[in-house]
């Protein structure tokens, strides 16, 4: 016999309301209700609509964490409403919870947003297999379990947009593809049957829209309800750019490669040297800040850069362990 007991707690919900057709500005409605330990966030959305206001609008469909329709923000955290338990939300944030759309600036009606930018970026990375298959093949196209493993977790993405609208770069740079599109791109880049590796990578390499604008904040990994871990895929795509020879010399690629050169020379990083290596002549734009730092004793001269003890070990390991050339 189960010993599990259902508990209840009173929770105050502050809910984003906005109707683009009628309202000039959004506003918030407050709803207080007893929440049971069995409920998920979607249950609360349903109860607001059914018990308080039938006009309250949000997206929902499968209720099984598959369709990705019901992603919203709870206290600023992207959340798939049908998957996230209220118990977890209360544990994390207490009993005052704010329910908002994934993106306030894209709100259409209450928690429903216009995901047009998300789908545009999703489509831009050619999210399908591009393969030149012989019409009359002599044998099947075999994929080993190990090869399939390379893309399996990326394949779990349900395009809910949780990571996309949690990404701080998406908010700042409208050209940036965003973590969901990168995870989808990886799904096909890692597919041994795909013939468009280079073309897709070239697009992902482009400044402003591409991989190099990722700030590495791990928000995408944190919020993904399917554990796709987009930042892990972004890192793997970075590595592919170098391995496939797509990476061209620019400030971002030199910044990555410069670490190896600096470690080989000093063990530690030569911070000023790295900026010079990455920027080239454009380093001139950093001079005003560098002067301020210099005056405060925050810059070490090139001849005084510290070196790691046992530097010969580090140099030997770099020589024997390097797997990529650029």
């Amino acid at each position: 016999m189960s010993t599990h007991s259902i508990t209840t707690q009173k929770v105050n919900f502050r809910v984003f309301r906005f109707n683009a057709g009628d309202d000039y500005l959004p506003y918030y409605e407050n709803y207080t209700m007893e929440v049971t330990s069995e409920e998920v966030v979607l249950d609360i959305l349903n109860r607001i609509k059914w018990d308080f206001d039938g006009s309250f609008s949000y997206r929902r469909s499968c209720r099984h964490g598959i369709c990705g329709a019901c992603a919203i923000k709870v206290n600023g955290r992207s959340t798939l409403a049908c998957k996230e338990s209220m118990t977890t939300m209360i544990d994390w944030f207490g009993t005052d919870l704010t329910l908002e759309p994934l993106s306030i600036k894209r709100a259409v009606k209450d928690l429903i947003i216009d995901k047009g930018d998300f789908w545009k970026k999703h489509d831009a990375i050619h999210p399908y297999l591009i393969s030149h298959i012989d019409e009359h093949p002599e044998m099947e196209c075999a994929v080993t379990p190990e090869q399939a493993d390379e893309l399996n977790d990326a394949d779990l993405c349900i395009q809910c947009g949780a990571c996309h609208y949690a990404c701080p770069v998406v908010e700042v740079n409208e050209d940036f593809f965003g973590p969901a599109a990168f995870a989808k791109a990886y799904r096909f880049e890692a597919d041994v049957r795909d013939d468009a590796h280079i073309t897709r990578l070239e697009e992902l390499h482009e400044e402003k829209q591409g991989l190099w604008d990722c700030v590495k904040c791990f928000e995408c990994a944190e919020v993904c309800p399917k554990e796709v871990n987009p930042i892990d895929k972004i890192t793997k795509l970075h590595q592919m750019l170098f391995k496939e020879g797509v990476a061209t010399s620019n400030v971002a690629t030199r910044h990555a490669v410069g670490f190896k050169h600096s470690i080989a020379k000093h063990g530690v990083l030569d911070e000023g040297g790295l900026v010079l290596y990455s920027e080239g002549p454009a380093i001139i734009k950093h001079i005003p800040v560098a002067l301020k730092m210099f005056r405060k004793g925050k810059i070490v001269m090139p001849w005084a850069i510290p070196k790691s003890d046992n530097l010969d070990e580090i140099q030997q390991l770099i020589k024997s362990s390097s797997t990529v050339k650029f």
């Binding site: 700030v215 590495k216 791990f218 190896k260 063990g267 920027e279 070490v300 362990s321 390097s322």
Partner: protein, 293 residues
């Protein structure tokens, strides 16, 4: 209480552009009777950029750093969020993948080293909270920071990915509602300021390749603290510190309003509460002047 002793992985920044961070780390350790054995053999962790270029090389180099902590038989303590992430991530991957560990050890053996997986890794912030204890710290405060509204800025790589960081810190941190730095401020007698950007990205890692993005994120962070009447900000990450302390001009232009605040390392804040002098804490090294002492 048994004397705490750690293998200190300084990272690169504390030896160059944030010398005050290393000074204040040692000053605080001395006050708290914590012994630090500096890993002078350690190399750069790759800062998440070498990892974009050569993943295996970064694993080998980070494993080498941990191997030196293991030789001392000590927990490794970091003072940089990004060093913390890259080192902890390396440990996680090697401890959960015996083939990868063997491959890395094949290389380390060339220089007479072995990664065993015996040393744990923590950040100095969590060493103070988890191992030293905030109650004990409170008892040692001689100059409570009660005059100040202090805005905590957590930095990404100490709190995300939470699964990894919860493996290394005893304090289980919710990345959407982190408390460690707030708790530390309160333990030092200060008033913690709550603001939306406290757990957001400062933009450091795209400073060169996407300067506008970086500047907006920095500006939003400082503005968030200013809008909540913070007197100063405090961070456990020297990279966040550099961004917030030295880039206020760019950030102000990017967000269209003048914002600047002193940004202290968390070691400096603790040191002030413990009665360390401004010289010991290196307060003269800040670009955004620390003018309240």
């Amino acid at each position: 209480m048994k004397k705490l002793k750690y293998a200190l992985f300084t990272g690169c920044t504390a030896k160059q552009s944030t010398p005050e961070q290393l000074m204040s780390t040692y000053a605080v350790a001395k006050k708290l009777n914590i012994e630090l054995i500096e890993l002078t053999e350690a190399s750069c962790c790759g800062a998440s950029h070498l990892q974009d270029f050569d993943d295996f090389l970064s694993l080998v180099l980070n494993a080498r750093n941990i191997a030196y902590a293991e030789k001392h038989g000590l927990t490794m303590v970091t003072i940089c969020n990004t060093c913390q992430l890259n080192t902890a991530m390396t440990k996680h991957r090697l401890d959960h993948n015996s083939k990868l560990k063997a491959k890395v050890n094949e290389k380390l053996n060339e220089v007479g080293l072995e990664y065993k997986g015996t040393s744990t890794i923590t950040h100095f912030l969590y060493a103070i909270i988890d191992d030293f204890g905030l109650d004990k710290l409170k008892e040692m405060v001689v100059t409570p920071l009660s005059k100040f509204n202090i805005a905590p800025f957590y930095g990404c790589h100490n709190i995300r990915p939470s699964e990894l960081q919860n493996e290394t810190h005893k304090t289980k941190e919710n990345p959407y509602n982190p408390t460690s730095l707030d708790d530390l401020i309160i333990a030092c007698g200060g008033k913690n300021v709550d603001y939306e950007q406290k757990n957001k990205c400062c933009g450091f890692h795209v400073e060169l390749q996407a300067p506008h993005t970086a500047a907006v994120l920095t500006g939003n962070a400082i503005a968030g603290a200013v809008d909540q009447n913070a007197d100063w900000m405090v961070t456990p990450c020297p990279l966040c510190h550099l961004k917030l302390d030295t880039q206020a001009d760019h950030a102000s232009k990017a967000i269209g309003r003048e914002v600047e605040l002193p940004v202290l390392h968390m070691q400096q804040m603790v040191g002030l509460a413990l009665g360390c002098s401004s010289e010991e804490l290196g307060l003269k090294h800040h670009v955004a002047e620390v003018n309240f002492i």
